[in-house]
């Protein structure tokens, strides 16, 4: 759509601007403030410059958390995106069965995040959980509070359980928008199932899939509650992702300076990666999908 130039439109945006400035800019400036100051208590602060940033950059703690976070996000994206597309391809296109699938699939998305954690915490327990009990009965040694691998598998399966439906629903929305004529043309050309997917369905889904990847990346990168409830970051620090580490530092140990420096760098990483996705997405939008 060709838009008209109208700077009065700013008035329409003003309420959003005021509200977001109150709930984002002020807190963010507080963080910036802390990141460049040091304190000995009693609300006495003095200028510390970039010391905290230097200190955090030289500390293994943040790098380890960042590495775990990148692995986590990469793994869940690698599982959820293909699986979501696969599920979407198998979804019934219309009818009561389709509505039923939609409603059931959306359910995990609307469960409060700590309840998701609780569900999996219970589900995986060897003494009272279905999953843990079954695995133990099969003779598999599975204990997510002691074993690093089991803890990782648990939080990854939990995330797949929780969020794959989002990818599937987005992909499904993309699939539904493909006119029937495309498929008829493919049938006339005797295109194989793979070619239909590769040259018709995938390009049509590209736009919504980018949204899915963007959302899943952002949310998995800031994940806190679910793994915290299940593993508490343990065993040891094995599942201490970025947010868990940050909350430990800021609210647990009250190391405001380092935590603030950590926050800003954390935010910048998300911002940088999201900007790439966003640019790709808007370019796809422009091409008219």
């Amino acid at each position: 759509m060709n838009k008209t130039l109208n700077n009065k439109a700013w008035f329409l945006v003003l309420p959003v601007l005021v509200l977001v400035a109150f709930s984002a800019v002020i807190p963010l400036m507080t963080v910036v403030n802390y990141s460049v100051q040091d304190t000995f208590g009693n609300n006495q602060f003095f200028w510390a410059g970039l010391e905290w940033f230097e200190e955090m950059l030289h500390e293994d703690r943040m790098w380890n958390a960042l590495r775990r976070q990148l692995i986590f996000s990469a793994v869940i994206l690698a599982i959820e995106v293909p699986l979501g597309v696969f599920v979407a391809l198998n979804m019934p296109k219309s009818g009561a069965w389709s509505s039923f699938c939609l409603v059931t699939m959306s359910l995990p998305l609307l469960i409060p995040w700590n309840v998701v954690g609780t569900i999996w915490q219970i589900f995986g327990r060897v003494d009272i959980g279905l999953l843990g009990h079954t695995l133990a009965a099969m003779g598999i040694d599975y204990n997510y509070t002691q074993d690093t691998i089991a803890a990782w598998v648990t939080i990854i399966v939990m995330d797949v359980w929780h969020w794959t439906s989002l990818v599937a629903l987005l992909a499904f929305a993309g699939l539904k928008s493909i006119p029937d004529a495309y498929y008829q043309a493919a049938r006339i050309d005797q295109a194989s199932r793979w070619k239909v997917f590769r040259y018709i369905e995938l390009p049509k889904m590209a736009g919504v899939l980018m949204i899915a990847i963007l959302l899943r990346f952002m949310d998995s990168f800031m994940i806190y509650t679910e793994p915290f409830v299940v593993t508490g970051g343990g065993p040891g620090n094995a599942t201490t992702l970025l947010s868990i580490d940050l909350v430990k530092m800021a609210l647990g140990q009250f190391d405001l300076g380092p935590a603030a420096a950590f926050s800003l760098m954390y935010f910048l990483v998300i911002l940088a990666i999201s900007w790439v996705f966003y640019t790709v997405m808007t370019n796809l939008d422009k091409k008219g999908m």
């Binding site: 700013w10 963080v31 409603v103 998305l109 609307l110 806190y224 800021a250 998300i270």
Partner: protein, 281 residues
């Protein structure tokens, strides 16, 4: 191998339907299993949960639910959560509607930057904002009120609402606006009487998302409340008593947090698919 592909082609549809149904059934079972287990546990006594391992409750009991519905300390948690979620949804939509209209219809100075800046707030990790929010709302005397949580959740819900609504509004041809103005409608009258009904499904979808993300968030709502506005999700930690965790009660509380979400999904089920694509299909 043209003849080899031609022969199964006739049979293919039937096989594919069956296989699809199988895949869907497997996926839905995977989704439902943990929920079934939670429901199963909520209907058992704590003794039975810790005693035998049973797939169905032997002594069916609703005691866990009765406990929640008769104790104000429990059920007020649901009320608190619902209050701030509804407040947040209303505020988010009220400010997002005009802004989304501006973004979908006009070019103005800095519009693209502003739009991305809004989105960056959706990307901000709540963990970064927990402590500053706590200090901000304490200093203005809003700590432990519903409005504080509602405003805090605007951080990620307003950008999302703008994003979704903008997608839906782009689908409405601009000629409608122009015709309405020629017919003598002012901006306000046009927006409320003509434009909003046209994007009703978009508003529903945006409301659904605001509800969803406000309902499921815990870190901020827990940090900003102590007693009066404490959400149910935070109250659930109370089940860890002196004699260990009351698993049955915990499970029942968990099941009850799923119900509002399920109800909302039921209302918007016909728009879910398009809604999840943020109006961009």
């Amino acid at each position: 191998m043209p003849d080899a592909t031609a022969a199964p082609a006739r049979k293919a549809p039937r096989i594919r339907v069956n296989r699809s149904a199988l895949v869907m059934a497997a996926y839905l079972i995977f989704l439902m299993l943990p929920l079934y287990w939670l429901l199963n546990m909520s209907l058992k006594t704590n003794a039975e949960i810790l005693g035998d391992f049973t797939l169905f409750p032997r002594n069916l009991t609703f005691q866990n639910y009765v406990t929640i519905f008769t104790d104000p300390a429990w059920y007020m948690g649901y009320v608190n959560s619902l209050i701030y979620v509804v407040m947040n949804t209303v505020i988010s939509l009220a400010v997002a509607l005009p802004a989304a209209y501006a973004f979908s219809r006009y070019h103005f100075m800095g519009d693209k930057h502003l739009f991305f800046w809004l989105l960056t707030n959706r990307m901000a990790p709540p963990a970064v904002f927990a402590l500053p929010f706590f200090q901000l709302y304490s200093s203005v005397g809003l700590f432990d009120t519903h409005i504080a949580v509602a405003l805090a959740h605007c951080l990620f819900n307003v950008p999302l609402a703008v994003w979704i609504l903008e997608g839906f509004m782009r689908g409405v041809p601009k000629e409608i606006d122009e015709t309405a103005y020629i017919d003598g409608y002012g901006f306000g009258a046009f927006f409320v009487k003509i434009f909003m009904p046209l994007i009703a499904s978009g508003i529903g979808v945006a409301a659904f998302f605001c509800f969803m993300f406000s309902w499921v968030e815990l870190l901020l709502s827990r940090t900003l409340t102590t007693v009066d506005a404490k959400p149910i999700a935070a109250i659930m930690t109370r089940t860890q008593g002196a004699s260990g965790i009351d698993w049955g009660l915990l499970a029942a509380a968990g099941i009850l947090t799923i119900i509002p979400g399920a109800l909302v999904i039921w209302f918007v089920r016909n728009y879910i698919a398009k809604g999840f694509a943020l109006g961009r299909v």
